[in-house]
Each structure stands twice: as structure tokens, then as C-alpha cells.
């Protein structure tokens, strides 16, 4: 079975800009908790918030968020090696 996970580089990009979670939260008008949960991958932001974050950090949305494909085991056995 193929699982697709959303990964993000929010923490790295934020560090590059030398911004704290609180400062970034102020820029995009959300709470610090929202930034924290997005950074930890616990919450998938809306398109609007993703665009706002990308704009605030001067990067594209693709640089900030990316899909990571994982191959899990299915009942038929392990995924075939490519």
C-alpha cells in the first residue's frame, strides 16, 4: 500500500529568515500554536495559509511543502523492490 505524507521545511525556512514561531504567526495572522502544529506535521494547513506562509518566507509553496511517498506492507506481502 502506498501512503503519501506531507512534509514541510517550515522550520528551516523560518530559521533562514530568523523568525520565531510567534513572529511568523503574527505575519500570517494565526496563533503560534498553528505554526507549531504545521511545523510538526500534525496539522495540514489550508491552501490559503500555505500560500500566506510561502509569501511570508519568500519561497514557493513547493519549497515549503512536499509530498513524500512511502511504501507500506500490504496483506499480500511486502512491496516489490524496484
Amino acid at each position: 500500500m502506498q501512503n503519501i505524507k506531507l512534509k514541510n521545511t517550515l522550520k528551516v525556512q523560518r530559521a533562514k529568515k530568523d523568525l520565531t514561531q510567534e513572529q511568523l504567526a503574527d505575519i500570517v495572522c494565526v496563533t503560534r500554536k498553528t505554526i507549531n502544529t504545521v511545523e510538526k506535521g500534525k496539522y495540514v494547513p489550508s491552501t490559503v495559509l500555505a500560500l500566506k506562509l510561502a509569501r511570508a518566507l519568500d519561497v514557493t509553496v513547493e519549497e515549503l511543502f512536499m509530498l513524500e511517498e512511502e511504501f507500506g506492507t500490504s496483506s499480500a506481502g511486502p512491496a516489490p523492490a524496484i
Binding site: E22, A25, D26, C29, V30, T31, R32, K33, T34, N36, T37, V38, K40, Y43, P45, S46, V48, L49
Partner: protein, 148 residues
């Protein structure tokens, strides 16, 4: 030093906890007084139940006034209000309502099972469901809002 926004988030959390405790104490003691009048086990309470009932009511009232004052403050600053009610907050609020739905279903099933054993009155059933409906969304929201 916490900013105004952080202070408001903390204040919001305290109000939610206060309202939940106030409601639990107020409605809980009212439920016991109303459902088991003259029962022996009511005399085991060190503080008389009517006193607990009044304390719960005033606790609820105090936090309700704080909530109304905060709401007025929010109306004066719509941007701050939007920030505090951001999409993550709305998301967990919506999720907590979904969880509440299943908890209420479980409570109803438990009451139906208990009905066969203890023959509970409809009044007691309604009060338990009422208490669960009032408290569960707030408690689930507070649990989900915790920062790990």
C-alpha cells in the same frame, strides 16, 4: 514576555476550563440533589450539596462574565479576533464536535444497557445526556488544544 495575543490565548483557555468546572459542579450537584432527594449518600458530602451547587453557579457566572468581556474586546479588534479563531482552532473545534457525537452515542448506549439493570427514570437519563452534551465538547476541545 508574552504578547497581547498570547495573553488572550491563555485567558481564553482559562475561561474554557473555568466554564467547564463551573458547569460540572453546578449541574452535577443539581443532578444529585434533584435525582436522589433525601438519599443517604448525599449526607456523606462534607460540604452540603446546595452550597456546592451555589459555588458552581457563581464559578460559571464569573467565567461567563469574563467571556462576555473578552467578546466585547474582540469586537473592538476584529483582526485579533480572526487570529485567535484561526483555521487550526476551527479545525479542532470541528473535530471535537465530531468526537462529542460519538461520546454521546456511547453514553446513550450505556444508559440503555443500565436501564435493564437499574431501571433508571427518563428524567435521570435526560440529565446525564444534558450534562454530557454541555461538558464534552469543551473538555474534548481543551484536550485537543494541548501543546505536546
Amino acid at each position: 514576555m508574552p504578547t497581547e495575543k498570547e495573553k488572550l490565548v491563555d485567558s481564553n483557555k482559562k475561561i474554557s476550563i473555568g466554564l467547564s468546572i463551573g458547569a460540572a459542579v453546578w449541574f452535577g450537584s443539581w443532578f444529585l440533589i434533584d435525582s436522589f432527594p433525601g438519599s443517604d449518600f448525599l449526607s456523606y458530602f462534607i460540604i452540603p450539596l446546595p452550597v456546592i451547587w451555589i459555588a458552581g453557579f457563581f464559578c460559571y457566572l464569573y467565567y461567563l462574565i469574563r467571556l462576555l468581556r473578552m467578546e466585547r474586546r474582540m469586537k473592538q479588534n476584529p483582526e485579533l479576533a480572526m487570529t485567535l479563531n484561526d483555521e487550526y482552532t476551527q479545525h479542532i473545534r470541528f473535530k471535537s464536535l465530531g468526537i462529542t457525537y460519538w461520546i454521546i452515542i456511547v453514553v446513550i448506549i450505556l444508559l440503555l444497557v443500565l436501564e435493564d439493570i437499574y431501571s433508571l427514570s427518563a428524567s435521570i437519563d435526560l440529565k446525564i445526556i444534558f450534562l454530557a452534551v454541555i461538558l464534552t465538547p469543551n473538555i474534548v476541545f481543551l484536550i485537543m488544544d494541548r501543546e505536546n
